[in-house]
Symmetry: C3
């Protein structure tokens, strides 16, 4: 399967996006420590007392960025894999993966840095274009098996 | 792999469910605009001012529907794929996929339209039946490799 | 593909982790019923009235455990699958899967039982080690296809 160059190309960008999600998790944890805002009483007890069992706007921002990644990157891991199996041309496929990859990078930066609207929303919409394109192409191939 | 008819049947319903998740995301965004309730200060500034950086019950309902989809549809994308690899009969497999697909459609409609309980919970439970069935069947095949 | 013993080993632990996630969903539901704290007005109406449409700290704890599973187990379902395709040795691969599996079990127990910090965080970090290791190994194989 890794002899399939389209699939390998997909795996490359996908693994980078998974690592990007891990980085957002790390940033969230660092923000919790810096702002002293913990999601659990047991964590706040370890870091100065129950006062720190509270919400913080910067931590919530990281969590929204992470959740948006789950809503979009995780379905991409599926769509990109099945799209790779319908033998698209490598250049067209790479274009799909690259647009998604770059848009999601921009989305994360726009979210974490609170860039003025509509930067983040635009990045979100652009990233959806290759996803819907892959979904439609896959459906056309497998529709007869429904 | 797409010559495997069970896998192709699985891919068909899975891609439709991913598109269904995208539609819930779009509905959430439209609801935010209509109710003027934004998750980020930068979004609310663009749409009339910081007053609109607030929660709204209808937006939260959309978000709960979306989260429940992530909790259930995303694991199905994995379970259905590995189940397709253990060579089940096509009719039995299609039955698993169809029950899950229809139940999750009903679940989303019951959530977004706030249908009286226990419609939504019933749809959730019915959708879990094929998932647990697939999980058990896969485990029996691969248990010796643990 | 299931003739690939590494992949079958991966599938075994992955399916168990998916079932573990389902169990957290069931615990959340039971906690909602026991604490009479429902996420939707239509559910609370069925269980004694709108007073029960409220948040509860024990229910929120279950939901945080579930969300953390989505953030970590769902990407593992992808990483482990592609890692299985790069032909790692069975013993090394099994070690990756087992460390992740046991750590995530500990993580869930530490979360639901509110064990003193840093038990849960430690389990989280240990589970990330095989994930990052698999990600790096996969990247090295497919980097030339970018």
């Amino acid at each position: 399967m890794l002899l399939n160059t389209v699939f390998s190309c997909f795996v490359f960008y996908s693994v980078l996006l998974v690592l990007k999600m891990y980085i957002i998790a790390i940033i969230t944890g660092q923000m919790r420590l810096r702002k002293k805002a913990f999601a659990n009483p047991e964590d706040s007890l370890r870091h100065g007392g129950l006062d720190h069992f509270r919400k913080d706007p910067d931590v919530e921002r990281c969590r929204r960025a992470h959740r948006n990644d789950m809503e979009n990157i995780l379905p991409f891991l599926f769509l990109g894999a099945v799209y790779s199996l319908i033998s698209p041309s490598l250049s067209v496929a790479r274009c799909h993966f690259l647009v998604f990859f770059v848009s999601r990078l921009v989305h994360s930066m726009a979210y974490l840095c609170a860039l003025p609207a509509p930067t983040r929303s635009l990045a979100y919409v652009v990233a959806q274009v290759p996803c819907v394109s892959m979904a439609v192409q896959v459906l056309m191939v497998v529709a007869s098996y429904a």
